[in-house]
């Protein structure tokens, strides 16, 4: 495929006239894990949603492999924030994962044996095969997150967007997610992850986007995740910024 997996130019988004993102432009290289960082209200989730066409942009352009989003839906996978859905919904884990195939089924085809099989494989990849028939409200937070990841895998995408997959999960799940991210990367896929925990940035991500209403910096983690950039992203709000940025990645 030609072009960058994701190219955003002059993207501006506002909620009821209050601007959330101001003229954000960047390109994402292929086959990398990219962390999207920034303080609360910096517009990280908004960026994801605007790129996915879930909220309208006032201005700007989003291109995926050099084509508009609409034409590329089938190569995009999305993991929303876990809190964005009602986990009391009457359905089980396998069924949720099968939802990842709906986009490939077209208007009228129903999910069948093939979709079930794909969904089971994806559940197995996140270590949740034993929970396929479990009602989703009976799963722990980490297990629910892994079900969401399995659903994204079932989308079989080239470019993934994940909205805070690490928030509020147990250590097992965090490890499972990281393994999965590396597996995706080895397959040449590109993953954008909205992330909060600055202490793990150097360990997890090849690239970072620093966001604070506007784009502060974007680039390889080594060059971009610096005390100076963090300071202009977070202001003085985090005292130990310097520590995060200077810890050598090997020791974390």
């Amino acid at each position: 495929m030609k072009g960058y997996p994701l190219e955003v130019s002059h993207l501006t988004v506002a909620y009821q006239k209050k601007p959330v993102l101001r003229s954000v432009s960047f390109q994402i290289p292929e086959g990398k894990l990219i962390g999207v960082l920034g303080p609360n209200g910096a517009g990280k989730s908004t960026l994801l949603k605007a790129v996915l066409g879930l909220i309208p942009a006032l201005d700007g352009e989003v291109r995926i492999y050099d084509r508009p989003y609409r034409e590329q839906r089938k190569i995009i996978g999305y993991v929303p924030q876990r809190e964005s859905v009602d986990w009391d919904f009457p359905t089980n884990a396998l069924d949720v994962v099968m939802m990842g195939r709906y986009g490939h089924l077209g208007w009228f085809r129903r999910p069948g044996t093939k979709e079930r099989q794909i969904a089971m494989e994806c559940l197995a990849k996140v270590g949740m095969a034993d929970f396929a028939g479990r009602q989703i409200s009976q799963l722990s937070g980490g297990q629910q997150q892994r079900v969401f990841l399995a659903r994204a895998l079932a989308q079989n995408a080239q470019l993934y967007f994940m909205d805070e997959p690490f928030s509020g999960v147990d250590a097992t799940t965090e490890k499972a997610i990281i393994n999965l991210l590396h597996e995706l990367k080895e397959q040449g896929k590109t993953v954008l992850v909205v992330h909060h925990d600055l202490s793990t940035v150097k360990e997890y991500f090849d690239h970072v986007l620093l966001l604070n209403g506007e784009l502060v910096a974007a680039g390889p983690t080594e060059e971009t995740f610096t005390p100076a950039n963090l300071h202009s992203t977070y202001g003085g709000r985090i005292a130990m910024l310097a520590d995060f940025a200077t810890v050598p990645s090997g020791t974390v």
């Binding site: 949603k49 929303p80 919904f89 009457p90 709906y102």
Partner: protein, 293 residues
């Protein structure tokens, strides 16, 4: 035959509303169902004025249009920053009030009784029959409700996966290219249709009970959406049948008795449901406590 037609009418109302009610309950839009059932009144009244007859097709159409306008206005107010419950309250009472004015202004020359609109009169459906080529085809209401049920079944049957994903995770639905707004308005249009088709028999107020109570009861009894829909329809049918005989025994409003039976079934499920019921939950807590002790 009287018993048969009334129970059949009630069951058709229950089935149509029961299916749609599941999606309303899961999307936390029960009050939108309430709003639609009330704000279709001006649509019915205007259709009535235009045709100066109880032409069912025109009333269905007028009400469906008003139903969609209601949903659109609620959305509009919400998007401009008003709380969602306030938006619903404003839109449906205002539209309902307009309907009341239209009906009361023209009460002299239209045969549309406000009591009947509000509470319905299911006992009368058998007198209003459809005569085709000289044959008595049965009550008009049964045909109308039967037709609505078929439309609802066809729409939900064809687009089950879309309706399901839009209810569970609209963000993913939009991301994979499902036109979420289209299915939202389709659901709301179906709710409007069923409300109007039902209102003659159970009235604008009680139809809400048929939309929400069986679905909420079914929600307590199963962990699968498909089963929830089946249970919801069954519970609605039991309510219709049980309600009819209860009303006969009590010599009271039939529609009122039907919704009361639905309410009683809900309370039973709330207390006794094997998974979500009060008794089951208390028992679980007790077992956990004794295990801890």
């Amino acid at each position: 035959m009287t018993d048969f037609w009334i129970i059949l009418t009630g069951t058709l109302v229950a089935a149509t509303c029961g299916i749609l009610g599941c999606f309303l309950v899961l999307r936390k839009m029960a009050m939108v169902g309430d709003a639609i059932s009330h704000s279709v009144l001006p649509g019915i009244a205007i259709a009535f004025l235009i045709s100066s007859s109880r032409d069912s097709m025109l009333m269905l159409f007028g009400a469906a249009v008003l139903g969609l306008i209601t949903v659109f206005l609620i959305q509009l107010l919400q998007n401009s920053g008003l709380q969602s419950d306030a938006s619903i309250g404003i839109v449906f009472t205002a539209l309902f009030a307009i309907g009341v004015i239209i009906i009361s202004r023209n009460a002299a020359h239209i045969d549309l009784d406000l009591d009947c609109v509000l509470f319905g009169e299911i006992a009368y459906v058998q007198w209003d029959t459809w005569v085709w080529n000289g044959y008595d085809m049965g009550p008009v209401a049964v045909w109308m409700l039967g037709g609505t049920l078929l439309i609802v079944l066809a729409a939900i049957g064809l687009f089950y996966k879309q309706f399901k994903l839009c209810a569970f995770d609209p963000a993913l639905a939009a991301a994979v290219g499902i036109p979420v707004a289209l299915f939202h308005y389709m659901l709301m249009g179906l709710v409007s249709l069923s409300t109007v088709a039902s209102f003659e028999s159970v009235g604008a107020i009680l139809v809400v009970g048929m939309l929400i109570i069986p679905a909420a009861t079914a929600y307590l009894l199963t962990d699968r959406l498909s089963m929830m829909i089946v249970y919801s329809v069954l519970i609605g049918a039991i309510s219709a049948t049980g309600g009819y005989y209860a009303a006969k025994w009590l010599d009271a409003s039939i529609a009122g008795a039907m919704v009361t039976v639905a309410g009683i079934l809900f309370v039973l499920a709330f207390i006794l449901s094997p998974s979500h019921g009060l008794v089951a939950r208390l028992g679980k807590r007790r077992r956990m406590n004794s295990a801890a002790a």
